[in-house]
């Protein structure tokens, strides 16, 4: 299936990452957004509010982030592709409904344009300090998907991807932008609608009296029922059986939770999305994501110019973490260097998978990006 031409603004644009994210959502088929505008994500919903009337979409400015994050679940079960957009404090408030979307297998997209925290922190300045909150912020045990764009172009591309993955796996997908990428203007190429692949909703063909809303297919993902066609079922955040009825037993919990985790975990390799640069034969590999990956690349180039073999591995998908890839690389390189705009979050995952290889964290409190010279120094010292 291809994108609905109505939502696709084909052409070359000079726009910021927030606007590109909006266009990615439109191209990705999103027709419902609920949000409570917050810097530095406001421009996403500003543009949504402007563009949605042209495509028959509905944008609601809600009373807060709790309402926003549950309104999208309602829209999804009503048949729409939906997202909410937030930052920092708003993301904290949405945690409960990320869990609800996981438990009810509601395909939806959460955009978090990361700013400095904790609390109100640095509303207009970048950070990447919500990476572990994205993974573990809601209570209970679960798996989800998170992508990390490093340019306005990728804000467009990865937002489309987020909608597709949400539908394919029936899981909330988090687009983890940051203030720098969100407010940075660059060229964004929007392809023709027929060049944009859309993963359609998994509608059930089951007869009305045989449909089981949470009975998975072979890929562990169940099909959804189209609202208004006469399917009747129960949906709850409680642990439930295939019919959707509460099943609060040890076996029920093991069966449901096991499947919710396996449907992502068993597809971790397929979900891996990284950009490798001269990783083969490298002594050291710099692992980075989002805006930091660009600054890191500048540092990598500077160290290479001095004759050292340094590779770079950029995570476009942070969750699930590409564990197999890092474990494999760890047998070949001496050291991993992990710069990020936090005091060391994704570096913990690298450490977990690094086995014998050394891991060097290059932390930053946020508010700006790393000075490339700091990363150059870290790589140089690591190679000594």
């Amino acid at each position: 299936m291809h994108a609905d031409p109505a939502g696709v603004l084909t052409g070359a644009h000079f726009i910021d990452g927030d606007h590109a994210c909006c266009e990615g959502a439109l191209a990705g088929g999103c027709r419902f957004v609920a949000g409570y505008p917050i810097t530095p994500s406001t421009e996403v919903v500003e543009r949504i509010a402007l563009r949605f009337p042209e495509v028959g979409g509905v944008f609601i400015q809600m009373e807060d982030e709790l309402a926003s994050s549950i309104a999208i679940a309602g829209a999804v079960w009503g048949g729409k592709r939906a997202m909410t957009v937030t930052s920092g404090p708003g993301f904290s408030l949405m945690m409960e409904h990320i869990g609800f979307a996981i438990m009810t297998e509601t395909p939806c997209v959460f955009v978090n344009v990361q700013r400095g925290g904790p609390s109100t922190g640095l509303p207009t300045l970048p950070a990447q300090a919500d990476m572990m909150q994205a993974r573990w912020g809601s209570h209970g045990d679960y798996e989800l998907i998170a992508v990390c764009p490093n340019s306005p172009q990728e804000c467009f591309d990865l937002t489309i991807k987020a909608f597709n993955l949400a539908e394919q796996y029936r899981v909330p997908v988090l687009v983890m932008m940051d203030e720098c990428v969100g407010h940075m203007m660059e060229r964004v190429i929007i392809p023709k609608p027929e060049e944009i692949e859309i993963f359609p909703r998994r509608w059930t063909n089951a007869p009305l009296d045989e449909y089981l809303p949470f009975e998975p297919g072979e890929d562990l993902v169940p099909d959804m029922a189209r609202a208004g066609q006469g399917y009747r079922f129960h949906m709850t955040g409680l642990t439930h059986d295939e019919k959707g009825y509460p099943d609060m037993t040890v076996t029920g919990q093991a069966r449901l939770l096991g499947r919710l985790i396996d449907k992502i975990k068993k597809n971790a390799a397929a979900l891996t999305d990284v950009v490798e640069d001269q990783v083969d034969g490298a002594e050291a590999v710099v692992i980075s994501y989002g805006i930091t990956s660009r600054v890191a690349q500048k540092a990598v180039q500077a160290v290479r110019a001095k004759g050292r073999r340094v590779g770079s591995l950029r995570l476009r998908t942070a969750w699930p973490f590409p564990e197999h890839l890092i474990r494999d690389l760890a047998t070949k390189v001496k050291v991993f260097i992990v710069p990020e705009l936090n005091f060391g979050q994704m570096v913990r995952e690298v450490e977990r998978c690094a086995q014998g290889a050394r891991v060097v964290s290059v932390p930053h409190a946020g508010g700006t990006v790393h000075d490339p010279a700091i990363i150059v120094q870290a790589i140089t010292e690591a190679l000594r």
């Binding site: 070359a12 000079f14 720098c180 203007m185 500048k298």
Partner: protein
């Protein structure tokens, strides 16, 4: 690789950010170059400081912020004071004639003065000060072809104001070219 770091500074309401967007759009969409624009502004919409950081390069831009400025355009005294220290030796400096007093002067800058306020008044709308400045900058910087910048102006201004803005852009460009010719003749 050639990379040009540009800073445009003024106060909110002058259209400083739009100037940066037009130059960036001209470079990235119409001149086959790469451009990254970052904007910063004070808490109030008007009257507070406003500046655009723009990098134009012939290959993808990695580090997004402007550090050592190659070309500086200032439309307020505050911007002059804040941003001239980061201007590279021999860098291009464009100041607005009536809004900026060049004190203390910046030694070793290629300095041009754009009479944007006066030209805008002649055209009849003070609001086009920024578009005049874009035209002037296009001429004295010779960074992006005239046609590319003009296309970017057309795509960036509200539909009903196109003629006005194009007149402003061309006037700025013309005055810029005259000044550039004078400097080149005396060199």
């Amino acid at each position: 690789m050639t990379q040009t770091q540009i800073r445009i500074g003024g106060f909110g309401g002058q259209g400083v950010i739009l100037s940066g967007i037009i130059i960036g759009r001209g470079a990235a969409i119409h001149a086959g170059l790469h451009a990254t624009l970052i904007q910063s502004f004070g808490p109030e919409a008007r009257g507070s400081s406003s500046s655009a950081e723009l990098i134009v390069a012939d290959e993808p831009i990695l580090y997004p912020y402007v550090k050592d400025v190659d070309m500086l355009v200032v439309l307020s005294q505050d911007a002059y004071a804040r941003f001239t220290p980061a201007l590279k030796k021999g860098g291009l400096l464009v100041t607005e004639a009536d809004l900026v007093s060049v004190t203390p002067p910046v030694p070793e800058a290629r300095h041009f003065v754009v009479p944007a306020t006066r030209l805008a008044e002649e055209i009849g709308r003070k609001i086009v000060l920024n578009i005049i400045t874009v035209g002037f900058f296009g001429a004295v910087s010779q960074l992006i072809p005239l046609e590319a910048l003009e296309k970017a102006v057309k795509e960036s201004v509200p539909p009903g104001t196109l003629d006005l803005n194009l007149r402003a852009f061309r006037k700025g460009y013309e005055v810029g070219l005259e000044q550039l010719a004078k400097v080149q003749a005396s060199a």
